[in-house]
């Protein structure tokens, strides 16, 4: 073949020009294009972060007591500097509204991150903490405490402690199944669904013994709520979620490799089986810590990563933090909607996320590339 007659691509012309003219690598077009591409991703992440910040501000203003955004942040600042001027505003913002908003922020970020990790690990768009049975295990633990009074802890800690301990059981079941059958991602999801059905059935049996008080409390917990969460609960949620999310982001490269398939991952030095187990443990840790306090809030872990992928793409290095911010904003805004749409009656946040998430997910399924389902 005569080299002078070969048609040259744009990219190779740029490289040739650089090589022949001694251009700086940093200013070559492919590199600039790539930098723009990365900058766009960071711009989206910052946009989602800004949306979260605004949602927090809005969350602090929503309520019967009229307080503007500026006044809310001013009250917060006065509280932090020990210069409280309005005692009732201080209590309303700091002790009543802000714990709820922060719970939404932490729970939303944690559930979205957990969902993102699950979807990467299992290469399955339906994967999230709920389809792995984690939430059902937590639900059974709570049901046990509420209806029968059987709990590891006593008093007001009964439900929370039970939910946490029982949410770890499905995780270990799935890990055990994976070891026994050298399970593929599909088998693992099916094991999670099987565990979910078992725990749901056990919860239903327990409800037969429930009195109206217990059934009502159980309903609120199973629907998912940010109400009644105080600063002591938020602290625990925050610490555990931060650990889980930070570790997940540190594993973003490994997650990317896992999502290309087990063979590719092994070829690049990743033990796919072990990595999957680590990810499961992280998801269980984060999900259990959140669900123990909020009850079962659905769709955040499922929908948030999908929405974010439309803007960011599938690179977990950017997808994870963006999903965390988006999930946080989504949950806070859902709670605001629940508190205002039928005011003074409050719709629990789990109802709102189901209303928002269900149609959103249907839309995603319809427009989704079929190759994902292969």
């Amino acid at each position: 073949m005569d080299g002078e007659n070969v048609k040259e691509s744009k990219a190779s012309r740029s490289v040739r020009e650089w090589m022949t003219k001694g251009q700086d690598v940093e200013t070559s077009k492919p590199v600039l294009d790539y930098k723009k591409y990365v900058a766009r991703k960071w711009a989206f992440i910052l946009t989602f972060a800004a949306a979260t910040f605004l949602a927090v501000g809005w969350g602090m203003c929503v309520g019967v007591t009229d307080i503007t955004v500026i006044e809310a942040y001013e009250t917060l600042w006065n509280h932090l500097t020990g210069n409280i001027t309005h005692v009732d505003w201080d209590y309303t913002i700091v002790e009543y509204r802000l714990p709820r908003v922060c719970a939404g922020l932490v729970a939303g970020a944690g559930l979205a991150t957990a969902g993102c990790v699950m979807q990467s690990v299992l290469k399955n768009p339906l994967a999230d903490p709920y389809t792995t049975g984690v939430s059902s295990g937590a639900g059974f633990g709570a049901t046990l405490a509420i209806t029968v009074g059987a709990s590891v802890a006593g008093g007001s800690l009964a439900i929370i402690t039970n939910a946490f301990i029982f949410s770890l059981i499905p995780t270990f079941v799935i890990i055990s199944v994976s070891k026994l059958k050298k399970a593929s991602p599909t088998v693992m999801i099916m094991a999670g669904i099987a565990v979910m059905y078992i725990f749901n059935a056990m919860s239903t049996v327990l409800k037969l013994w429930a009195d109206p008080d217990a059934l009502s409390a159980l309903y609120r917990w199973q629907v998912g709520t940010l109400g009644g969460i105080g600063w002591d609960n938020v602290q625990i949620m925050f610490v555990v979620t931060l650990i889980g999310c930070a570790l997940s982001m540190a594993l973003s490269r490994e997650l990317n490799l896992l999502s290309t398939g087990d063979e590719n991952a092994r070829a690049l030095g990743i033990d796919a089986g072990k990595m999957r187990i680590i990810c499961f443990l992280l998801v269980a840790l984060v999900s259990a810590a959140i669900v123990s306090f909020t009850g079962l809030i659905g769709f955040v872990g499922l929908v948030a990563p999908h929405i974010v992928r439309l803007f960011i793409g599938a690179d977990n290095k950017y997808l994870l933090p963006a999903s965390a911010f988006f999930g946080a904003a989504l949950l806070i805004i859902s709670d605001i909607i629940g508190r205002t749409v039928l005011s003074p009656t409050v719709l629990q946040v789990g109802v709102i996320t189901a209303f928002l998430g269900g149609p959103m997910f249907l839309w995603l399924i319809i427009r989704k590339d079929n190759s994902i389902w292969g």
Binding site: D88, D211, A217, L281, L285, P344
Partner: protein, 439 residues
């Protein structure tokens, strides 16, 4: 990152969280059992009620005097002697109690009482301003105590014009019983409310509301009353300065229980029965029997029937408000009578004829294989009859079906007395589901 290191970090994190949970378990939890010995056991849980009866009287002052003279306060015997809640019983408690006994004319002060959770709550006494009620049960209590004109804010769930005239023009806490604290607090500005009768069941938000009102220095006091029905009536009567009405109610209650004991207390061969909760979903394969529970202990059909000589068949376990079983179990027990409360199956809009038709249909569908059905020994009424303040007035009427010794005239007189004394606004004519239906 090294995989072993990551596994190690994750395991440490799990252990750390487990340790936190364990620490919470060890440091949290209920109060020590020693405190339970000093709790109020009667109906009136107001501090100052030294003799633990239903009133604040001179006899309470006498007891406090005796304690002062003795120099020792037996907290177990007289848990309510410390009227001013300062931890000691002395002359200041006597002057404090004397002021409380002035009722509406008392010098403003705090009245302390043991609340729903057996903690000491307080109200700014005397309570003469507007009132809020968080749910229908609390609205019923306000009406019973003659306070409906002062109710300016309501939880609007299950209210009706027949039972709660004018409710729609009142400030609303929302449809459910879990009112938001800010909404409750706003009722001071919006409706001049200074005291709210709280919904106190276990799934309510009363504790959150109480904390919010205290944290914001609200002018509203949340009344978290004792869990027993009579405790609510008597304690609210004193806290809200309407003892006349609460004492009137208790007088009827005592009279009815004395009458029942007198007429049938020694009856041999009392008819047996089962108490059933009928819902629109009830089938022969799934019948719900009323049992004992924290709710059932305080009020309700089952509790009333336990005070009669009848054997009331129940389904184990007995730690639940209701357990489910089927027609085979019912036939195996073969009770003489089936008594059912209809919950959700009879709408308040039904006429008496419609209720009767529905009652007959339910008997045919569910109980036709039973001996009680064949003997026409089935009686029914709405859940609101037997599980509300109307219950004790309706009790003789219910028993009159099972026992010939209970006079029909007396039973009907008691039912009518509930309405004549204005303990409720509705009548059996405009609330026909509250009537009794028999085969």
């Amino acid at each position: 990152m090294n995989q072993k290191a990551i596994i190690a970090i994750v395991l440490v994190a799990i252990l750390a969280v487990a340790a936190i949970a364990a620490a919470l378990m060890l440091t949290g939890g209920d109060k020590s059992s020693d405190e339970e010995k000093y709790l109020a056991t009667g109906n009136l849980t107001v501090l100052g009620n030294a003799d633990n009866d239903n009133k604040l009287t001179d006899h309470d002052i006498e007891i406090i005097n005796d304690i002062i003279k003795a120099g020792v306060w037996n907290k177990k015997a007289y848990p309510l002697a410390d009227a001013n809640n300062d931890g000691v019983v002395n002359e200041s408690d006597i002057s404090y109690l004397k002021n409380l006994m002035k009722g509406k004319n008392a010098t403003p002060t705090k009245m302390y009482y043991y609340n729903t959770w057996n903690e000491i709550g307080s109200v700014r006494f005397p309570v003469t301003g507007n009132i809020g009620t968080m749910y229908w049960e609390q609205a019923d209590l306000a009406i019973l105590l003659g306070l409906w004109d002062r109710v300016k804010a309501v939880g609007s769930g299950s209210l009706s014009e027949e039972k709660n005239p004018g409710w729609q023009s009142l400030y609303s806490y929302g449809k459910g019983y879990n009112a938001e604290p800010e909404v409750v607090a706003k009722s001071y500005e919006a409706a001049g409310v200074t005291a709210v009768i709280a919904y106190i069941q276990g799934d309510g938000t009363a504790k959150d509301i109480d904390a919010y009102l205290k944290g914001t220095n609200s002018k509203i006091d949340l009344l978290c009353l004792p869990t027993s029905m009579n405790g609510r009536v008597v304690t609210a009567g004193v806290l809200l300065c309407c003892e006349e009405q609460s004492e009137k109610y208790m007088k009827y209650y005592d009279e009815v229980m004395a009458y029942v004991q007198d007429k049938i207390g020694n009856v041999k061969d009392a008819p047996s029965c089962v108490t059933v909760m009928m819902r629109s979903t009830t089938t022969t394969a799934d019948i719900r029997f009323l049992n004992m529970s924290t709710t059932g202990e305080s009020n309700g059909l089952y509790t009333y029937m336990l005070q009669s000589p009848s054997e009331v068949y129940i389904v184990e376990p007995t730690n639940s408000y209701a357990t489910h079983t089927d027609i085979e179990w019912l036939n195996s027990k073969n009770p003489d009578w089936i008594i059912f409360c209809s919950s959700g199956a009879w709408t308040t809009g039904n006429t008496q004829e419609q209720n009767m038709a529905q009652f007959k249909q339910e008997c045919d569908d569910i109980f036709s294989s039973t001996t009680a059905y064949k003997n026409k020994h089935i009686v029914a009424t709405a859940n609101g009859t037997m599980n509300s303040f109307f219950g004790c007035f309706a009790y003789p009427k219910l028993l009159s079906y099972l026992y010939d010794e209970i006079e029909d005239d007396y039973a009907d007189k008691m039912v009518q007395a509930f309405f004549d004394e204005k303990f409720a606004y509705y009548t059996l004519d405009n609330m026909p589901s509250y009537q009794f239906y028999s085969m």
